[in-house]
Amino acid sequence: MKHRTFFWFFLPTALAMLLFIFLPIISVVTQSLFIDHEQVFVEVENCNFFGCNTVSVVDTEATEQLRAEQPLGRFVGLGNYINRSHLAFSEVGEAWDKSDSVGGFFNNIFNLPLYRALIFTLVFTFTVTPLLIILGFCIAIGVNSLNQKIKGFVIFFSLLPMIVTPLVGSLILFWMIDSRGIIGSSLQVLFDDPDLSLKASATLTWVTLIVYGVWHAAPFAFVVFYAGLQTVPQDTLESAMIDGASRWERIRYVVIPHLAPLVTFVALIQLMDNFRVFEPIVGFNASAHATSLSSMIYSDLDGESRLLSSAATSSVLTIIGVVILLFPVLIRTWRDWDRKY
């Protein structure tokens, strides 16, 4: 493609990216460097149906003046990044000085909101992604060898977990794994433990969320691999069969190498998706045992407190996390591209 043609071809996309991705990121970064103005209080009497008492309220006139002087708030530089809700430098240092063992140190670290969210996010991302790729591949191989007549039917059913809205899917499972739900009580019978509860223990909650993550995303890997399987060269497969290769050997030495680029693609998309895990935590009411970077941002913005700067800071840290996460994959893609052209 000529450079000129490419430019006009790419321009609408570039404009949309500038407007909807670049500018919001600039705004979020700016927000993360500021905090609200000092609030000026006045004591006043508050009367209602139940009686009167003294309350302090914000002196809006005085605050308005501060706001007019500095519309963005107070500049704190990286103050939001190093406070307790985020990277918590001083708390981490203190934990290091106080703890007598490495285990104790990590215990103290994972008591801080960002690190707690980060560890769950990473564990989730790095268990769910490989598992869903393997599962999706197995389903694709299985479906591909089915009789033509029932194939369409099976494909439809295999796709259902992805079709169901994540929040709805997790809410349905929330009730099914309840200690009185069908899965919950079956497990109690199976393990002969009437007090077994998937929701009460942190470990089992993590397992549940990971199983849900694999269940929900495996169809995506399945669809991609299934499409890839249709392009496997039949000649190579047939000659392998003539050479006496078993089914496993054909998969191992013909199919998997052929699908390798697709694995990179699925891994790339799913690493990003799983890194911003959010809906299952809300759907399963799991925030007591598992928080993620996205759920942290959500709780900052939710309700009456509206911690905008804190949410902005977490967002910037999430973006940095995604970049770090995708770096190896991006480098690989770049090398492949370099080799080809």
């Binding site: 209080f41 009497e45 309350v55 309220v57 914000v58 009460a200 007591a288 407190s305 911690l307």
Partner: protein, 410 residues
């Protein structure tokens, strides 16, 4: 169902004829509020004022808290009326987004009592129309079978729960919304107030990491022994579902949410007729009930034209007029409105008011402490941390948030 629809249609028709003229000449009214039957009645009452040159729209949604500040900040404001409670009026006050109603009251009057006026610093900022509170709800039949009386203190709640459990009547006799987040923090607030605690000291500094805080957590922990082990994931909706299934003998529940349980819809046989909305309980020998009082009322946005403000005021005054009261409306809430006769559904909230419970604190930074409690307390209940460590975390998380919002300076 069909019958219900017909009744609803009849009521709304009746509404239109009664309130055909609300005295509004011109203007736009746009109402933002929470979504439950009582608020829907109010919304419908305001909508009845729509007519020539007068438009009335409502957006009643559970998400109202999240959109109220941004939508009232714009000039002109997206909504002319915000229906609020004593916690959600605070962010609107903090950002100076609602106007005093004194002039409108002087000019147009209104058929409401003086005690419905919510005054802050001598100015009427909201007009209340209903009250709400969390209180004890129990199953008469189960308590009788266990041979125990309705409790008056949380210590007795534990005895009742133990008796019911020991008799093998239900497996997890006690229920309360202990799900991580707002609900759990609210139960902490209730219990902390019951223990005589003060949430703040020296202005906006937190005051929960002390003996009172520890006693509060320990009492809550003893209650969890009698709760479904999934308690950290169960909110009001789930607790109510358990109640309807007949799996709970005694619970702490909102009056507004427990009232509909008496109707017995989708409920196991024998549950609804034995459900009693009773009263709040005290704790640790204190005299203050371990609960908080709440009011719901309407406010008028600041960034709107005078014409719209007058139209909004008149429409809302019309919506809370004593003439709205009928048999169905009376069961929807504990109304502060004249002509309202208490029903069994309101007994609990009235008992809470009579017991002298304290209103939920209308403090600019109370919601920040509430959020910090909701995020940090689960570590104590899941056994990860001691009470002291958890409360220290709560204070640290609160201080970080309060510094960002400018309530505490270095």
């Amino acid at each position: 169902m069909f019958k219900k629809l017909l009744t609803a249609a009849a009521i709304s028709l009746a509404g239109t004829t009664v309130h055909a003229a609300c005295g509004i000449e011109k203007g736009n009214v746009n109402i933002l509020g929470n979504e439950f039957p009582a608020i829907q009645t109010i919304g419908a009452g305001a909508e009845a004022c729509a007519g020539d040159g007068v438009t009335v729209k409502t957006n009643l949604t559970k998400e109202h808290k999240n959109i109220q500040v941004p939508s009232l900040t714009s000039d002109p404001a997206e909504y002319t009326v915000a229906i609020v409670a004593n916690s959600s009026i605070v962010p609107l006050m903090n950002d100076d987004l609602i106007q005093p109603l004194d002039d409108l009251i002087a000019k147009h009057g209104g058929n409401f009592n003086d005690n419905q006026k919510i005054t802050i610093g001598g100015k009427v900022m909201a007009i209340g129309f209903m009250a709400n509170a969390q209180h004890i709800v129990y199953r008469k039949d189960l308590l009788e079978q266990a041979g125990v009386e309705a409790p008056n203190t949380y210590e007795e709640v534990i005895e009742v729960a133990k008796a019911v459990k020991d008799k093998g009547l239900v497996k997890y006799p006690f229920g309360a919304a202990y799900a991580a987040g707002w609900g759990l923090a609210q139960e902490f607030n209730n219990m902390f107030i019951g223990h005589g605690g003060e949430f703040f000291k020296d202005g906006a500094m937190p005051n929960v990491n002390n003996e009172t805080g520890v006693a509060t957590l320990e009492m809550m922990k003893s209650l969890t022994d009698y709760m479904n082990p999934d308690f950290l994931t169960l909110n009001n909706n789930e607790i109510n579902a358990e109640w309807k299934a007949g799996n709970v003998a005694i619970m702490q529940m909102w009056g507004s949410r427990a009232g509909p349980l008496l109707a017995g819809e989708d409920t196991a046989p024998g549950v609804a007729e034995n459900t009693v909305l009773s009263h709040p309980v005290t704790v640790g020998g204190g005299s203050m009930p371990a609960t908080t009082l709440w009011w719901d009322g309407f406010t008028i946005a600041k960034n709107i034209s005078d014409e719209d403000a007058e139209a909004s005021y008149l429409a809302m005054v019309n919506a809370i007029d004593p003439s709205i009261m009928n048999e169905e409306v009376a069961t929807q809430a504990v109304w502060m409105i004249d002509g309202y006769e208490p029903t069994p559904a309101s007994a609990g909230v009235f008992a809470t008011i009579e017991a002298g419970a304290t209103p939920y604190p209308m403090i600019p930074f109370a919601s920040l402490l509430h959020t910090a409690l909701g995020a940090e307390l689960p570590d104590f209940f899941s056994g990860k941390e001691s009470a002291e460590q958890t409360l220290a975390d709560v204070e640290a998380a609160y201080i970080t948030a309060a510094k960002e919002k400018g309530f505490i300076t270095e």
